[in-house]
Symmetry: D2
Subunit: 345 residues, 4 copies
C-alpha cells in the first residue's frame, strides 16, 4: 500500500501518518525528494484496509499495491489445481465439456438431452433443480424431484452431474445428489453460502458475478478455500456492460489473467454470455482459443418449449457440431504446444 | 411482447409463430403491411418469456413491451406505501434520516455515535452486526453480541435500529433484534433470503444490486411482497460503472423512475455511492433534491480507527452539518410544493 | 509513479529497472523490506509514461501516483475561473441558466422559444446550427442560416448565444456568430478541434465524453488552455452505463470532484442525461444541490414536432417552473452558506 | 416502431397518437385487445425518430423495431465486401495481418520493425504519424516526416501502409501517403471526418468508439458509404467497462454480430483491447477463432524505449510466434469448414 500526501503536506501531518501506520503494526517507509511525499506501507501478511489511512489529514490518495488473496494465488501454489470427478480431470490441460438444459423439467426431457449430449462429447451433465429467477412468477425448478432425475442421468449414462445450490437450507440435499455444486452469478458474494461450500467434500464451481472484478471473484473463491475445500472451479460467464447485442459481455481476457493469477481451473459459459444461440459457437471457439479449461453449454432438444433460457439453448445437433469444432481446436492447440489445449476427455 | 420477423419470412413461418403463441394460451396479433411482419402477443397476466419465441425460424427479434412486476407497481397500488416504525413514518413526504457506523465494534463506540447522531437529527440508527466482506480475512462483525448492543441503543436513546441480515440461518436472530431488516447489495438476488424476508413481520430495506436494472430491483422486491410482507423500503446506493473517482456511481434518476413506477419509498445511501467522505454532502443534497424519502449515512466518531469503511464515514460534526442542510432543503422543497419534501421527522 | 516488482525479482532485474528510470532522467527510489520491492519514480514536471517500465523483466505493475494535468488544476490556480459573457459571469457562485431548442429549425421557432426562455429566466440561449447526428439520414442542422437566426436572437432579446462547432472547417464561421462555442460529447477528444478552440478568443464549453474519466476530460480541457484560451466551461451530461431507464447516467459526483480538482466552472446538461422530459426537473434540482454553476436545458414550444431530441425537450411552461425551482434552491443554498449557490443571474 | 400506451389511455389520446403518426406520412396500426393498446408504425424507408411520439399524452414507451442502417446492411448487400489493397484481399475468407509500431519514431526504428514483421507474416504495415494523445504534453507524432518514412517502408518492403488521420486539415496529406486510412476510436463519431473519408478513393478502417453500440458504429460507417466510398473495414478494439485488468474489454461477440448484420470486413486490434503484452496472444487467438478477418497488432523492437504504448507492444519474436499460431489456426478453421478462416495471405 502506498500513501500519497498532498503537495503542501507539512512535516507534522506526514509524521502523523507514519505514526498511524506504525500504531497498526506495519512499517512505514516515507519516499521523499519529488513533488510530494509518498509513504510505503510494508507488512508481511493479510491485506491492509485503505480506509484506515485515506481519512487522515494531508493524505491525497491511498493506492493498494499487492493482491488481497492468498490461498487461490499462484504465488502460493505455483502448480495447477486439478479437480478429479470420477475419471474426469478438470484443469489438466484437457478440455472438459459440460452440457445439458438450463432447468430440469421432466425425466423424459432430461434423459433425451443426456443421451444426445453424451453422444456429442459432453462428460459432465448440467441441469438446474433449484432455479434463481428474476421473477417470482417464473418457473422455479423441480427441487428434490429434479435432483432425483439428475441422479438417474448419472446411473443410466455414467455422467457426473453439476447442479446449482441456492441456499444453506438446501445445501445438504444438493450436495447429496451433485458431483459438482454450482454457485451462481447472483450468489457469488453470498458469503454464508461460500463458507458452507467450503465445508463440503464436493467440488464447487463458482460463477463470476455480473459486476465482479477478478479480485472480488478470487476473494470469493478464497472464502471456500479458507474453509478447507480446495476443489474450486471458476466459471466466466460474461459481465454486464452498456453493450446490448448480447445478454452479457464475455470477458475473454479474464481467462489468461485468472490463469496467471491463480492455480484454479477456469471454465467458460458461452450460453449466458451470449443470450442468443447464434453467438454460442463463436464464443465457444474464442474461449477455447484463449485458454479455457472447458465449457458449460446449455442444450435443449426442444428449445422453443424450454421453461427457461430457450433462446440461448443449442439444439443437440448444434451442440454436436460445436463439440467437433472445439475438440478439434483443442487437439490442434495441444499439438501446437499451446498451454490451454489438449484433446477432449 | 412483440415479435419481429425477418424481411423475407414466409407465410408458413409466420403461421408457425402464431401457432406457437396460441399453443401457450396467448392471443397473437400479426401486424402486416410494412417492410416486415411483426406479431403482437396479448395476454392478461404474468410476464411472457421471450425465449419461447426468439428461437423460432424467421424470428429476427423479440421485444418485451409491458413491465414484469405487479405488486410493487403503482399501476396496482396508486398511493404511496408508508412504513411505520415506532413514531416514524417512512415515505410520507417527510425526510427520514438513518445514521450510524458501518459496523458495530463495541458498546462504547456505538453509544458514543448514537448519542451524537440522535442529537444531529437521525431518527433511526444503523450498524452492522453481520458484515458481508469481500475478504474472509477482514473483520466480519460481532454477530449476536453486536445485536445486543443495538438493542441497548434502542433502549437508551429510543432510536429504532436497522441492521443487515446475511442468511436464512441468522434471520430469526436478526429479526428479533432489528426494527428494520436490511438486505444488502450483494444479496439483492438471493431469492431464498428474499422469500424469508417476505414471511417476516418486520419492515425490510432492500438495497439495489451493483449491476441491477430497476426492473430487476423491483422484481426482487416483488419476491418479498409476494410472500406477504408489504413493508419494503428501496435503497439506491450507486451502481458499478467505468467511473473511478467514486466507489460507485449514484444513479440519481433512479429516484424519480422508482417513484413513478412503484409505490414503495426510496432512500439513498450516499456513503457507499461516494466511498469517500468529501462526496457525501453533495450527494446527500442531490438525493434529497431529486426526491429521496430519506438518507442512510455512515458516521463514526473516529473514522481513522474504524474497522470498515472509515474513509466514507462522516465525523459526527459533519453529520450534524449535513442534517442541518438536508433538513433545511427538505423544508424548503416542501414549502415550495415539491413532492419529495417535508421537514425531517 | 510506483513500480511494483515480482516477489521473486532478482537484484539484477531491480537494478535494471533502476537504470531504465535513471536513463530517462528521473530519480529512482527503491523501497525494500516488505514482501516485495517497489520502486518510486521522482520527477519534477510533466507525466511519466507507464509503458516505459511496465514491460521490463520482473515488473508486476506500474501504478500512477500524481495527476497528469497542470493548467486546469486547482494546485496551479487555487481561485475559481470566472467566464465573462456580456454581463453574465459564469462560475462566480451564481447559477447560470442556458436554454433553447436542440436544433435551430426556423426563425419563427427560435424567436418563439427565445422569448419564452428569456421570460422564464434563461440568460444564455442555446441552439444547434451544425448537428452531430448518429444517422446521416437525420436532420443535420441549417448551417450558416441557423447561425444568422441565432444572431437575431442576440439582437432582439439581448441574449448571448451558445452553439456547437463540429469541425475546423466551420470553426471561424461559428466563432464569428457564437458568444460561447460548444464542443460536443463526441468531439471531446477531437484534439485538432481542441487546439483550434485553444486559439479562439471566445469562451468554450467542453462537454464530457460518453465514456470519459474525469482525468481524460480535464486533459482535453488542458489542450485548450495550453494553446492560450483560459475561458473554458466544463459540462457534465451523463455517461454511458448498463442503466437503461435514462439515456445516460448523470454522474453527480463529478460535480464536487471537478470543483475540487479544477478551477474551471462546471455546468450540467440534464436533458441529455435524462433523455426523457420527466427526469429533467429532478436531475436539475440534484445538479444545483450538488454544486453545479449552471444548467443547459433543452426547451421547445412544440416538442412533438421537434426535428431532434423532442422527447427530452421541456415545454416552455415546464422550463418556467424549473427556473422558479432552481432559482429558489440556488438562493436558498446561498443563504445557507453553501459554496455552489447564489441567485440566478 | 412500436408505441406502447398507458393502461388507462383514453380513446381520444390513442386517436391523437394515430393522427400524429399519419401526419408524418406513416401508417398507424393500433393493436388492441390486451392489457393496453400498442400502435405499430409502418413505413417504407429511413428510420423513424422516436422522439416525435414519446412526448405525446398517454404514451408509455416507444420501441424501435427495425435497424437504422441501410448501405452497410447485409439485407441490402448479401455478399461480403472485399477490400483490395495491392495483392491483398481483406474480407475474402483469408486472415489479414497488419503490424507495426504505435508511432513512427524514426526511420531506423520503422525499417527495423518493418523488416521483422514482414518476415513474420504481416502483409500490411501500421504506424502513426499523427497521434491522438490524451495529454498535450505527450509525443504527438512526426507528422509529414513520419508519412515519408512510411512511404519508404512501402518502397523497400512492398508493404502497403495503414496510418491514422486526425482531421480534415491533414486528410489530403495522409491520403496521399496511406494505402489504408485509419479513423481512430476517439473520432468514430467525428462526422465531418467521416464525410471527408467518404469522398476518398482510399480504403478506410473505422475503429469502434470506446462506448459505441454496434448500431452507432455501423451508422458511422454508413456516413462513409453514403458519400460514395464503399471500401470500409471495421475494427473492434475493446470497449470501456468497469473491468480493470485490461485496458479495455474486447467485445468478442461483436465479431459474429457484425458479420451477420453487415457485409463489411471486421478486424480486431488485440493490442489496445489488452493494454498489456501478456494478453495479446490469447486475445488474438480468440478473435480469429470467433471469425475476425484479420488482426492489427502493435510491435516494437524495443518496447521499453517506445514513445507510446510500449507496454502493449509485442517484441518481434513474440509477433512471429503469434503469426505462426494464428496462421495455423486460420488454416485449421478453414480446413474444418469454418466461415472465418483461410490461410494467412
Amino acid at each position: 500500500m502506498l500513501i500519497v500526501m498532498n503537495k503542501n503536506a507539512t512535516q507534522a501531518t506526514i509524521d502523523a501518518v507514519v505514526a498511524a501506520i506504525e500504531k497498526r503494526g506495519y512499517i512505514a517507509r516515507p519516499i521523499e525528494g519529488g513533488e510530494r511525499v509518498s509513504i510505503g506501507i510494508l507488512h508481511n501478511k493479510g491485506s491492509v484496509d485503505a480506509s484506515h489511512f485515506s481519512a487522515l489529514p494531508g493524505v491525497k490518495e491511498v493506492i493498494p499495491v499487492t493482491r488481497p488473496y492468498k490461498l487461490v494465488s499462484r504465488e502460493v501454489q505455483p502448480f495447477n489445481t486439478i479437480i478429479q470427478v470420477g475419471d474426469i480431470r478438470i484443469g489438466q490441460g484437457t478440455l472438459t465439456m459440460m452440457a445439458g438444459p438450463c432447468a430440469v423439467e421432466s425425466e423424459t426431457q432430461v434423459m433425451t438431452i443426456a443421451e444426445q449430449v453424451k453422444k456429442a462429447g459432453a462428460v459432465i451433465f448440467r441441469g438446474g433443480a433449484f432455479k434463481p429467477r428474476t421473477s417470482p412468477y417464473s418457473f422455479q425448478g423441480l427441487g428434490e424431484a429434479g435432483l432425483k432425475i439428475l441422479a438417474k442421468v448419472r446411473e443410466n449414462f455414467g455422467l457426473p452431474v453439476i447442479t446449482e445450490v441456492m441456499d444453506d437450507e438446501s445445501f445438504s440435499l444438493v450436495e447429496a445428489y451433485a458431483d459438482i455444486i454450482q454457485i451462481g452469478t447472483r450468489n457469488m458474494q453470498n458469503f454464508s453460502l461460500l463458507r458452507r461450500a467450503g465445508r463440503s467434500a464436493k467440488p464447487v464451481m463458482l460463477k463470476r458475478g455480473m459486476a465482479a472484478t477478478i479480485d472480488e471473484w478470487l476473494m470469493a473463491a478464497e472464502y471456500i478455500l479458507e474453509e478447507g475445500n480446495t476443489q474450486v472451479i471458476l466459471c466466466e460467464r460474461g459481465v454486464r456492460t452498456f453493450v446490448n447485442h448480447s445478454r452479457n459481455t464475455l470477458d475473454i481476457s479474464a481467462i489468461p489473467v485468472v490463469r496467471r493469477e491463480s492455480h484454479l481451473p477456469i471454465l467458460v459459459d458461452p450460453s449466458h454470455a451470449a443470450g442468443i444461440r447464434d453467438q454460442v459457437l463463436p464464443l465457444s471457439l474464442a474461449a477455447v482459443a484463449a485458454g479455457a479449461h472447458g465449457l458449460i453449454v446449455e442444450v435443449h432438444h426442444k428449445p422453443e418449449d424450454a421453461m427457461s433460457d430457450g433462446a440461448q439453448s443449442l439444439y443437440p445437433s448444434q451442440f454436436q457440431y460445436l463439440c467437433r469444432k472445439v475438440e478439434a481446436m483443442a487437439r490442434f492447440l495441444s499439438e501446437n504446444g499451446e498451454p490451454p489445449a489438449g484433446g477432449v476427455q
